[in-house]
C-alpha cells in the first residue's frame, strides 16, 4: 500500500502543471464573467476553450495572461503567481482588437515578440533576428516581412501574430481565437504548428468558436459557460449532446449525419453574433 501511494505521489510530481486555477471568480466593472473556475492544465497540453459568446472564454485567457486580476480565487502560471513568469508567456489577442492600420511591418510585429527579452535601451541582436527569421519561415511569411500589416489577408494576419508568439520562444501560448475567420489552409497550418509546439513540451491554450476544429485538432477541451461545464478529451466533449446543450443553452444544433456520425453546428447566430459579423465596421 505504502509503496503504491509513493509511486502515485511521484507521478503527480512528474506530470507538471502549467496553469492552475482554484475557485476563480472574475469580471469587468460589476458584471461577472467567470465563476467558481477550478482547472488544472498540465504542461504539454493542447487545450481548446469552447463556449458561446459572452461565456467567459476570453476572460479565462486574460486571467491566465495576467491581463485581468480575478476578484477571488488562486491562479498559478508556470509555477508562480500570474505575471511573475510573463517572459515565458505569449498572448495573441483576437484579430478584431488589433489596429490593422498601425504603421508597422510584418517583421516589426514579429520582432515585438523579442522585445521583453532584448531589454530596455538595447537593439535586437543576431539571436533575435534569427528567431524572427525562423518564426517567419515557420508560418511561411518570410516573403512578406517588409509589408505593412494592413495589406495582409485575414489568414496572413493570423500567421504574423503566431510568428510573433513563436519568436518569443515561450513555454505557454495563450491564443484568443487563433483560427477564427481564416481560410482552411491557414487553419491547418496554424494547428500543425501548435501541435508541434505542444509535442515539444510547450503548453498551448486557445479559445475557439469552431467545434469541428476543436474536435479534430485539439487534444483536450474545456467547455465554459461562466462556469466550467466539462473538461476532457476534445472529441468526446464536442460529441456529447447533453454537455453541449448545457454549454450553449439550447443554441447548438445537433444533426444526425448521413455517415452515421454526428454533425454539430455551432450556432454562431445566437447572442447577436450575426449582427456583429454583419455590421462589422469598415475599419478593422
Amino acid at each position: 500500500m505504502e509503496r503504491g501511494s509513493d509511486r502515485e505521489r511521484t507521478e503527480v510530481v512528474t506530470a507538471e502543471i502549467a496553469v492552475n486555477l482554484e475557485g476563480v471568480r472574475a469580471g469587468y466593472g460589476d458584471r461577472i464573467a467567470l465563476e467558481d473556475v477550478t482547472l488544472s492544465i498540465s504542461t504539454g497540453s493542447l487545450l481548446a476553450i469552447i463556449g458561446p459568446n459572452g461565456a467567459g472564454k476570453s476572460t479565462l485567457l486574460k486571467v491566465i495572461a495576467n491581463l485581468l486580476s480575478p476578484w477571488a480565487g488562486n491562479v498559478s502560471v508556470l509555477g508562480s503567481p500570474p505575471g511573475t513568469a510573463a517572459s515565458r508567456v505569449a498572448y495573441i489577442p483576437q484579430a478584431e482588437s488589433v489596429d490593422w492600420h498601425f504603421p508597422v511591418t510584418v517583421a516589426e510585429v514579429v520582432m515585438m515578440g523579442r522585445v521583453p527579452s532584448i531589454g530596455i535601451g538595447r537593439r535586437p541582436g543576431a539571436r533575435d533576428r534569427a528567431a524572427v527569421d525562423h518564426a517567419l519561415e515557420a508560418v511561411a511569411m518570410d516573403d512578406a516581412r517588409g509589408r505593412q500589416i494592413g495589406e495582409l489577408s485575414g489568414g496572413q494576419r493570423r500567421r504574423v501574430f503566431l510568428a510573433r508568439a513563436l519568436a518569443a520562444e515561450p513555454d505557454l501560448y495563450l491564443l484568443d481565437e487563433p483560427v477564427t475567420g481564416v481560410d482552411a489552409t491557414t487553419q491547418e497550418d496554424v494547428m500543425d504548428l501548435l501541435e508541434d509546439e505542444a509535442a515539444s513540451g510547450k503548453t498551448v491554450i486557445a479559445t475557439t468558436h469552431d467545434l469541428a476544429c476543436a474536435a479534430h485538432r485539439f487534444q483536450n477541451a474545456v467547455l465554459v459557460n461562466r462556469r466550467i461545464v466539462a473538461v476532457g478529451p476534445a472529441k468526446d466533449l464536442v460529441l456529447d449532446q447533453r454537455l453541449l446543450a448545457e454549454t450553449y443553452g439550447g443554441h447548438v444544433l445537433v444533426l444526425p449525419d448521413l455517415t452515421g456520425g454526428t454533425l454539430v453546428l455551432d450556432d454562431a447566430h445566437h447572442d447577436g453574433a450575426s449582427d456583429r459579423y454583419a455590421r462589422r465596421p469598415m475599419r478593422s
Binding site: 495572461a65 495576467n66 505569449a90 511591418t105 522585445v115 469541428a212 474536435a215 449525419d257 454533425l263 455551432d266
Partner: protein
C-alpha cells in the same frame, strides 16, 4: 535671395526664436506620432488648457511660470490616465469636464490680476520671438529629456502602443509606460506653450504626425516625415511671421495645416488624386493597378480577403468536415 534668408537672422530674437521653435517642432512631431496612433489629441488639448491655472498660480505666488505650468500639465495628464483606467464615465466626457473646469479656474484667477500681464498673454497665444535665453535653455533641456526618453524606450513604447494586451502579457510594464507617455506629453505641452500658446499646442502635436500618416506606413518613416514637416513649417512660419509681421505661432500652425491639406489631396492612400488614378486609364496596365490597389485600396482592400471569410467560417467548416 540669400539676403531674404539671412537678414532676419541678424536679430537675436529671430535666432533664439528659430532655435526654440525648431526644438518645439521636433519634440511635438515625435510625441505627436504617439498622440495620433493612440488617439490622444483631445487629451493633448485638455492638458494644454489645464496648464493655464498652473501658470497663473505660479505668477500670483512668484514661483517660475514654467514650473507651475509643468506641475499642472503633468498632473492633469496623469489624472486623465487614472480616470481612463477606472472611470465609470465615458472617457471623453470625463476629459471634457476636467478640461473646461481647470481652464475656468485659470481664467478666474487671471481675472483677479489688475492690469495687463504680458507674460501670461504670451502663454495664451504664444510668442516664440519673445523668448529669452533662459527660456531657450529650459526648452532645450526639457525637449532633450523627452526625446532621449522616447528614443531609449522606442521599441517598448511601440509594442505597448500597438498591442497593449500582448505586451503586458509578455511582461512589459504597459501601465507604467502609458503613464510615462502621458507625463512626457505634459512636459512637451509645457515646453510648446511658450512657442505657440495654449490654444494652438494641439495643432503642433497632431498636424505633422497626421500629415505623415497620410503619406507613409512605417513607424520610423512616420516619425521622420513628421519631424521633417515640423522643421519646414517652423522655418517657413517664422520667416512669414517676420516679413509680413504676423503672429509666429499661428503662422507655423497654418503652414502645417496647409501641408496637411496638400497631403490629403495627394496622399497615395486616401487622396482624391490617387482615387482618380485607380479608375483612370493608367490602371489598365495590370502592374499599375496592382500598385494602385496596394496603395489606394488600403482601407477597402485590406479587409476584403480575410474579414469577409470570417463571417461564414464557424458554420461552414463544420459542414465541410462532418465528424472526421
Amino acid at each position: 535671395m540669400l539676403d531674404v534668408l539671412l537678414d532676419p537672422m541678424a536679430y537675436g530674437f529671430m535666432q533664439r526664436g528659430l532655435v526654440a521653435a525648431l526644438i518645439v517642432g521636433i519634440v511635438c512631431a515625435v510625441m505627436g506620432v504617439f498622440v495620433v496612433l493612440k488617439g490622444l489629441a483631445f487629451i493633448g488639448d485638455a492638458v494644454s488648457h489645464a496648464a493655464f491655472p498652473g501658470l497663473v498660480i505660479a505668477y500670483l505666488t512668484g514661483i517660475p511660470l514654467y514650473v507651475g505650468g509643468a506641475v499642472a500639465a503633468v498632473s492633469t495628464a496623469l489624472a486623465i490616465g487614472v480616470v481612463s483606467r477606472r472611470g465609470n464615465l465615458r472617457f471623453d466626457t470625463a476629459v471634457g469636464v476636467l478640461f473646461a473646469g481647470t481652464f475656468a479656474l485659470g481664467v478666474l484667477l487671471f481675472s483677479t490680476i489688475r492690469g495687463y500681464v504680458a507674460d501670461l498673454f504670451g502663454y495664451l497665444l504664444g510668442n516664440v520671438l519673445g523668448i529669452t535665453f533662459e527660456d531657450l535653455l529650459q526648452v532645450g533641456i526639457l525637449g532633450s529629456v523627452v526625446l532621449i526618453t522616447v528614443l531609449v524606450l522606442r521599441k517598448e513604447l511601440l509594442y505597448a502602443t500597438f498591442d497593449p494586451d500582448g505586451a503586458a502579457a509578455s511582461g512589459l510594464p504597459v501601465k507604467r509606460l502609458e503613464y510615462l507617455l502621458l507625463a512626457l506629453l505634459g512636459v512637451t505641452i509645457v515646453v510648446s506653450i511658450q512657442a505657440v500658446g495654449i490654444i494652438l499646442v494641439v495643432a503642433m502635436l497632431c498636424t505633422p504626425a497626421a500629415t505623415a500618416q497620410l503619406l507613409v506606413t512605417r513607424f520610423d518613416r512616420l516619425v521622420l516625415v513628421a519631424v521633417l514637416i515640423a522643421v519646414v513649417s517652423t522655418v517657413l512660419g517664422l520667416y512669414v511671421s517676420f516679413y509680413i509681421n504676423v503672429a509666429s505661432g499661428a503662422s507655423i500652425v497654418l503652414i502645417e495645416t496647409l501641408l496637411f491639406m496638400f497631403a490629403l489631396a495627394l496622399s497615395p492612400r486616401s487622396g482624391w488624386l490617387s482615387g482618380r488614378l485607380r479608375v483612370g486609364p493608367s490602371s489598365e496596365n495590370s502592374r499599375d493597378r496592382a500598385h494602385a490597389d496596394r496603395l489606394g485600396g488600403d482601407l477597402v482592400g485590406g479587409l476584403d480577403s480575410g474579414e469577409r471569410v470570417g463571417s461564414g467560417v464557424p458554420v461552414a467548416r463544420a459542414q465541410v468536415d462532418p465528424g472526421g
